[in-house]
Amino acid sequence: MAERSHGPGQSEGRGSTAGHTTSYPRAETAAHLRQLLETEGDAIHAHTSVSNRRRHEVFDETDDLDALRSEARAIKEDAIDRLPDLIETVRKAVEANGGTVYVAADAADANAYVADVVNNRAATSTAAESASGRPSVVKSKSMTTEELDLNDALESEGIEVTETDLGEWVLQVADDTPSHIVGPAMHLTREEIAELFTEQFDPDEEFETAEELTRFARDHLGERIREADVGITGANFVVAESGTITLVTNEGNARKCAVTPDTHVAIAGVEKLIPSIRDLEPFVDLIAKSATGQEISQYVTMLSPPTESPTLTFDEPDEPIGANTDAETNGSTDREFHLVLLDNGRTEMRADDQLRETLYCIRCGACSNSCANFQAVGGHGFGGETYSGGIATGWEAGVHGQDSAAEFNDLCTGCTRCVDACPVKIDIPWINTVVRDRVNRDAEPEAYDFLVDGLTPDEESGGLDLGKRFFGNIDTVAKLGSATAPVSNWLGETAPVRSLLERTLGIDQRRALPSFERQSLVDWFDARGGEQESKRRAAAGRRAAHDESTDALDREVVLYPDVYTNYVDTDRGKAAVRTLEALGVPVSVPNLPESGRAPLSQGMVATADTQASTVYAALAEDLDAGRDVVVIEPSDLAAFQREYERFLPERSFERLRDNSYEICEFIFGLLENGADPAVLSTAGGGGERIGNGDSGQPIAYHSHCQQRTLDLEAPTVAVLERCGYAPRTSTVECCGMAGSFGYKREYYEVSMDVGERLASEIEQASTELVVASGTSCGDQLETLLGRTVPHPVEVLAPDRP
């Protein structure tokens, strides 16, 4: 099998000094990702989407899931906080057990120590000679040893290394690298593995089934394990108090590697330390659920080595096992144990307020599995030198440096689906945003900066990628586009302009541009008579929609005019206004600043911070007056309810969070409090029949990724049901458009690949109506399905001007 190229910047081999993403031509990145979509995408999608579905199922079945996740998080926070103490605690515990602890500063240090252990042991070993006569090591799966490039280091010392996890062994045979932190060879199909093994091992009959391959591997690797001088494992957790190495596996190879050779070396990042055995419980409960959707893994091995387990000397086959066991101490005199704790940048990560959270990661891969982009390209695209998936940005920036993170960081669209998946509640999108910001700031100014300089009131220093700057300031762009519509729309569709946009800003020519409305939503609302007119209409609506005595319905709404609703998709804004008025609620639509979502998605944190303050200042009086803020675009609501916590004083953040609502969530609240859905456009017309789900008119509904993370898919579904529809919801985590992502030249094809999976799911629902909550989702689906995909509120809004 040909060696695969893994990343346009990695052709010079590991540790190359390749620059940040923008220094690669966009076309090169696009070509690399296209190749992965074609060669590895289907296998990766098959595995990750199944693991993700199973995780959803087992999470749903776990009653105390949220408490469990909070508990695990708290244990990690505490452990990282007192890490230096825990290192001393574990050193004492392991030494008291008869083992050795070595804290390695970096990869070279760790590798040299391990090589010494192996060479010393081989010189005195009673193990069977390996076929080559060289010192030999068997390993169980460990991403930390991948981080060290341990195998290469040991082999350069003349040591024979055999991976015993089947996936890792396949990669070793193929000279390939992991594409996923849990299932490292998931990008290879059974057919590819069978072909590889047939070619490599020349069996009597060609390999075909997984059963045959597994049987062969078991026999082949079993022999290597029996001969080995040293067994090397990683550790999922290390219990400081007792010096206990915890290994979570399904195959059983880690058990064999740990107790078959007389010498066991466990290699773990320092962040794997937890205080006591009782602290292990929530992690044992969560790790398999998060990783594969299993309730628990086959083997949770908790060893406090050197163990008393008898030594196994296979070159003396007729001696009883444990012949070297000392009856006096009831333990083996011949066992040796080394715990290598790796720093390699972790102490600096611990001191970094933004990267520290990465150290809570238990490496379950749930962030990869729940990521639509990862499902499409896998870890060879969405990954750095060692780690892959959403959290890899934190790991790579911490252990290999920012350049490695910059190679793939833009594949995180901030959709936040991993936030619900992470068993220790790491805000993975935020880590991606922060690292993107740091990468932006380190970049050199570009030649075409003048093109966007005039547009942008942002807070960013020079050097930012032009496309990022353009999308980060989309409110200014949209305002200009609207003011000059329809000329801006005509111009935007001409070939020379599209070509220019692609060359300079990286906007893919194949993607339709948004079409700006000449009259913004805010202008429409003013022209219609503003708040006075809305109050009049609401009063009329109120008489029709509910009993005036219900205080719960006595609300006033500020409708947030997000950029797209205000300038591009004004229809959904008008529909929201009409719906609220029909339900008796008066509305105002003030001219409010952009939420900061756009700059955040480009890693422009300082600009987003300023936007948050400006938005809050503009809304403070309404909030004080007890008005509710209603938002149509879920990504803007998510900014208010998630990221603003980092930008605003706590009280301001909570005030806005507690008084802001997604439009259908707000409508649901009104209906729950007695408003009559019959005043809306219900299925079947006229509102005479109100269904309860199954019996209603079929409608396909794709909620928005960030809306799902806010747990706000359900209210829209409920409102549709109350209005006589039978919604069928999508399971695809994200539409792939994700704001600016799908416009970018280098990501257009990934975006379309993700979108096509969603579109085919929607098509399978075979419904006349398709609705989506997000602008991007709607645009993507309209492109792929070739039909109109409105916001749910446009379907629900009463038909009047």
Partner: protein, 170 residues
């Protein structure tokens, strides 16, 4: 119905999902039942349950060669966790760890009174064992498995068949 019986029922259900059979026997019947399950060569660890001994063909002092060839490995489980179908195997001088992981078929024997309902109960027992010096334990749940060769296959490095025997009166 006692709590223990409920837990055994739950254990049986969980094991059923894992395609692991559970047998309930009295201490007096256990030896005969084990004898009936044997495929030789069989290796095992002396059982700590009063009135239960290993059938004659089972060797408790295997050589490296018998360990490699054994079809069946019999070990006690210190406790079992009903909700997940987990048995706790100690890694100790008697050789429970290699004897439970090397042979193709692992038979774990557990007293009904040692079946705890859930993981919290299991960690309670685990913490007790750690405090008493038994600080190397494996939670084994179902059969060794992998999907790394393209499809799910059981019996990779560990046993492809597991039987749990519950001593109802112990």
């Amino acid at each position: 119905m006692s709590t223990d019986t409920d837990a055994v029922g739950q254990l049986e259900h969980a094991l059923d999902e894992l395609e692991v059979s559970l047998e309930r026997v009295s201490a007096a019947e256990a030896s005969d039942r084990l004898a009936a399950l044997l495929t030789e060569p069989a290796i095992g660890v002396e059982l700590p349950f009063e009135g239960v001994s290993l059938p004659a063909p089972v060797t408790t002092e295997p050589t490296a060669a018998t360990l490699a060839d054994a079809q069946i490995g019999i070990t006690p489980a210190t406790f079992a966790i009903a909700e997940y179908g987990t048995v706790a195997i100690e890694s100790r001088a008697a050789g429970d760890e290699p004897i439970s992981v090397y042979p193709e078929h692992h038979i774990a024997i557990v007293a009904a009174s040692d079946v705890v309902p859930d993981l919290a109960g299991g960690f309670g027992r685990l913490a007790d064992r750690f405090a008493a010096g038994g600080d190397s334990i494996v939670f084994a749940t179902g059969r060794s498995a992998t999907a790394d060769m393209g499809d799910l296959v059981h019996g990779v490095h560990g046993p492809g068949e597991v039987t749990v025997i519950v001593l109802e009166d112990r």
